[in-house]
Symmetry: C2
Subunit: 298 residues, 2 copies
């Protein structure tokens, strides 16, 4: 993305944060960024598209930061999960994403609404999978409901806390800890009573690309790649390899048809730095990728 375009994006985001999405007119953006209307519509096909661009650029950034917190840590440690949630909440607050989301959901742009809805679902799915890490496979039937209710509890607590103590005194860490403590009790209670509202299998209908067998692979990929990342995290060129590893993970798990040759070429690049990695980890990744593609053909 063009530097100029990026600048417009940033200025528009700032205006949205200050005045809200609807209340910011395109003219405001033109005045503030000093471009003409023609240029604006050359960059973005509509005001909504601009908002999508803002969402996407931040979403990816936060998701990456959040996943990096897991490097070299035990996935079942709840404190890491708490840190990850805090990170997202802080980002939401800084970017005023929650109010912007709400504005969009109240609007009439179907595409935009679907995008937000999808992001919400992906977030629930991510929390659900983290809950499996934390609470164990045997609690699985209750963890999708728990993920959903956890988000509800967290959201209302943040809102209420802000209302009670003023907008700027929000102690995110306190609220997140409190909410997680409610969650833990809730999972216990659900396992006791066996009640279920929405079976986790429903996720498959929303994310058909993420098939059942893929979920097992997903965990193994994460583990292996985390091991590799950990091995090089102190190395001066680690960010280069991080990039390659992130790409492999994303292409494997998030695209409907992972491009096999592309992944193999990336793996080859990784082997350039094989002095840095444990040999067995690289081999493990190789084997995983191979069997993953075989499994995909069925």
């Amino acid at each position: 993305m063009n530097d100029r375009k990026q600048r417009v994006l940033k200025i528009a985001h700032q205006l949205f944060i200050e005045k809200g999405f609807q209340a910011t007119s395109i003219q405001d953006i033109l005045d503030e960024s000093g471009i003409s209307k023609g240029t604006f519509y050359n960059y973005f096909s509509s005001k909504n598209e601009l908002l999508v661009a803002i969402f996407k650029s931040n979403y990816e950034k936060v998701q990456k930061e959040r996943d990096e917190l897991l490097i070299g840590r035990d996935r079942s440690e709840i404190e890491i999960f708490i840190k990850q949630v805090e990170l997202q909440m802080i980002s939401n607050r800084e970017n005023r994403f929650i109010s912007l989301f709400e504005e969009v959901m109240a609007s009439n742009d179907t595409d935009l609404k679907r995008l937000i809805e999808l992001a919400r679902l992906r977030n629930i799915r991510w929390i659900y999978e983290r809950f499996i890490d934390i609470f164990g496979e045997n609690k699985k039937p209750y963890l999708l409901d728990s993920a959903n209710m956890f988000l509800g509890i967290l959201r209302e607590n943040i809102k209420f806390y802000q209302l009670a103590n003023g907008l700027h005194s929000l102690n995110i860490s306190k609220v997140v800890h409190y909410s997680v403590n409610r969650l833990i009790k809730m999972v216990d209670g659900l396992a006791e009573s066996g009640e279920q509202l929405i079976p986790p299998e429903r996720l498959d209908t929303w994310f058909p690309a993420k098939k059942k067998c893929s979920q097992a692979y997903s965990k193994q990929f994460h583990q292996t790649i985390t091991k590799l990342k950990k091995a090089i995290q102190e190395h001066s060129e680690h960010s280069k390899y991080d990039e390659l590893l992130d790409f492999v993970l994303e292409e494997l798990l998030d695209s409907k048809q992972p491009r096999k040759f592309l992944i193999e070429s990336t793996l080859a690049s990784l082997k350039m730095g094989k002095a840095l990695f444990e040999k067995k980890d690289l081999e493990e990744l190789d084997k995983l990728v191979e069997s993953y593609f075989i499994q995909l053909q069925d």
Copy 2:
């Protein structure tokens, strides 16, 4: 309110339900109801004012129905609370209030936003007070937090259930029961750990009219009036007396400066039907009103 005006209100509400608030233009309302623009702005000073009128007329109706469910019942029975919540959820769904609320909160009308926020707070307060009935005074410190989180859980569960099973298959009763079961465990857990996010005293700063001592009275008024209502609920003229009793309750508890003489005159009217009531109940109400006004002067 004028019949014609009422008709416009209804048609507009229907359009809002079908198309949403923003997507319904004033022209749509004019076309559908066959009035002219001049008349519209004679009735409502703006589109937002129209929405406020719609909210208010329904809000009062539902609140009344909800309180009537308590007549002749034990306030601590949780099944009554569940019925009350179901009633509100059904009304919200029929009137599409939740999406309309969200649209308003996303808009820039400060007054309208404050109105919705106040309604939300009043709802939380009502739930909090019902929780005191149900869980007992000793759980009080945790019940405001619980009320807030309960609303969050309920809301997310309803949304998620609709998403998973289709919009029209929503089994409200099932979702409410499920959510209430979560709540019960949560209150237990909170009492065990002693954690608190927002102390219930904070309610006093939001509703200064509702002083501490008033809260004790509130309960007593409710109890006595419920007893009176119960005594006449089979009588042919019960609705007339219901009206008088409702008025007394509202004037006492919801207005900042209850009109003493007006209440006394209403009590006198009630005594016209003293054959129907238990004498001691009427006397109890008299005494309560008297001491309430004395207390108000301090």
